[in-house]
């Protein structure tokens, strides 16, 4: 879901607190809760880390804003602007590289009308480059919201993106 842009900010804070709290309440045994685990919980829910989440995480973890920012800016999975409805990952790891990932990446970018890790102009699909999706035996690999698809080539990748666009158009995604 495109998240909070439309939401008023107090609601956003409420939702962030809910995500932080869920670390305690969803589980049979309470796991260790840290700044990192909290940021992961927020991003799982909102798909990005708004400024409010930095503040709420600092309060929740009894840490400083600086502490939280230093962690959020370090791990490359965190992002700070709302992504599109769906995220597509394309692997550029060495196996995929040898099996033609550069051309797959090029085809996907062309189909999305972007030339780096960006969101398509219609705001629907965000592209990310992945260092390895863990299914190298099926290289080249692409993924949509962590669901993997292997043995890609430029044509099948184009088809994959246009099918995805169609699906989002029809509103049956998520």
């Amino acid at each position: 879901m495109t998240t909070s842009q439309q939401q008023s900010r107090p609601e956003l804070r409420e939702r962030i607190r809910g995500a932080l709290e869920s670390q305690r309440t969803d589980k049979e045994r309470v796991p260790s809760i840290t700044v990192l685990s909290s940021l992961l919980a927020v991003q799982d829910d909102l798909h990005y880390i708004p400024d409010e989440a930095i503040e709420e995480t600092a309060i929740f973890c009894n840490a400083t804003i600086n502490d939280v920012w230093s962690v959020a800016s370090f791990y490359t999975n965190f992002r700070f602007t709302p992504p599109g409805m769906t995220t597509v990952d394309v692997c550029w790891g060495p196996t995929c590289h040898l099996m033609g990932a550069q051309k797959v990446l090029d085809a996907v970018q062309d189909e999305l009308g972007v030339d780096s890790e960006e969101t398509s102009a219609d705001g629907k699909i965000t592209l990310r480059y992945s260092t390895c999706l863990g299914a190298c035996a099926q290289a080249p690999v692409i993924a949509r919201d962590h669901v993997l698809k292997g043995r890609a080539n430029p044509d099948s990748a184009r088809q994959y993106i246009s099918d995805l666009q169609q699906e989002l158009e029809n509103g049956i995604a998520h």
Partner: protein
Amino acid sequence: MVSRTEAPVDTYAVAMSQQTQYALLRARARQRWDDLTEGDKPWVRVGFGASGQAAGAQAVFDALKPYGPEGTDQINLSMVGAHGLMYLEPLVDIIVPRANRVFHANVTPEMVPDIMSHYIDGRDQHPLHASAYAYSGHVDDYTSHLSDWDQLPPNQLQKKILTENFGNIDPHDIFQYIAQDGYSALNKAVLSMTPDEVLEEVKTSGLRGRGGAAFPTGLKWSFLAPSNALVKYVLCNCEEGDPGAFNDKGILESDPHRLIEGLILNGYATNSTHGVVFIRQGHDIPIEATRRAIDEAYQNGILGENILGSDFSFEMEVSLTGDSYVAGEETAMIEAIEGKRSTPRYKPPFPAQAGLFQKPTNINNVKTIAYVPSIVATSGDEFKKVGTESSSGTALVCLTGHIKRPGMYEVEMGVTIRQVLDDIGGGVADGSERIKVLQTGGPLGGVMGEEAFDTEIDFDAMAQSGAILGSGGIIVGDETTDVVDLIRNLVAFNQFESCGKCFPCRLGNTHMLDVLDRMCKNEAKPGDMQLLETVGNNMKIGSLCGHGQLGYNPISSAITYFGEEFEKRFNGEMEKSGPFGDGSMILPSRTRP
């Protein structure tokens, strides 16, 4: 009066005869297994895991669902882990009660009705001979015309210790693991062995760490064992950021209880109180499998207070990290579990003195720990019989790239790389002429050329060849592979993933990437080769952790094996590299602040 010469009491046998907790679990597990394998319905298992998913196993599973318990209930249906023979995925493995076991390879959803009608309606004809294999356990009239699964070359050369349950049990069902004698080693240890005895077996086994540095595991544990601290941690490293390696996640998604049993044994042998399994976020299949397995272990008295009725108690949880390759370095991993930036710590103090939350801590790789149950179940001596003198046991290799049969294969240490490539992998992929280059040991490992293919898979022999075994990834490049372009890909990764804590690594990787980029575009400058060497050597001596210290490996190994090609690139005597004809490569532009 008891005579003095009487044999010592076999406490293990006594415990078993007294209806121990484990014996009860075991009886339940046997029952469930028999229901699945000896009932009226075929048991249909679909190989899953990341690779299966990427090959399309979900659609096959969905096509099978209408026949399962939620539909007409004509079959038992399970999603199992990776089989290892990933070129055959999606792979459907069917146990026919009182008959044979048949594997259907490269199944598509469209093939499912045909396959199912064979098992459900009548067994007289078999429409899919070419892609079906029968398990040689017992051949019958229905399957005698099928190829023999065990005769498949990748099955012949494998030696299965870690992977013996892969594909054969549902990773989400603890009782299927127990039905294969799972947790019997733990039961034996906590009821009839002292922690020292367990540690001694691990030492005797000669087990060395599978996370990269090949450090003797028993010795590492003996640093932690003596401490009397009230809280002590044993951590399991499944960061597995090495591109081209997926065997750690493979264990978690195919047989997570083996890892959990190993980690509890690790805790028992070192008198530790807490275990943490550390996994990178985003890999949902292994994460979910591990979490569920830990929950199941708690529910059945295998984790928590008084494990299996003993006086040993142990807690375990999963800790996720954000995306950061260096988080796999052991002290950086500790920082990440504490919720901080995953940058390595200065040593000393070593983790065994002051690690996670300043408590004594041990860190091992997933594979290392997953060997422990079989060591304890048999003995250290037994384990040491497998493999070579200096590298006991097996290697779990991930074979990918331009190879006919990509997959995850477990081979005895001492097998040569050529055997793995030819006998298991089937040689170079269709459409290619020959294997030119291998990339092994992850992005800090190296490349090797054909003259090194007779190297034995053994930690020391591999290290001598200039490549390293590392995590077990072997990436195959055919004759069209542009070595400098491949090296640029590795160095780009290393540059992208440098944690930035020390400048030789942070800047050095950037300089090296710049030079390689120039070379690929035929724009190399006169001093560039010298620059690579200077920077590489500075990184080796001036970096805090292995990421910087080993960062020159890809280049130095490429110069060893492909010096001529390097030279030619440097001199601009080749076409610009890459698929776009201009030497460019699409790479992420983010850097760590």
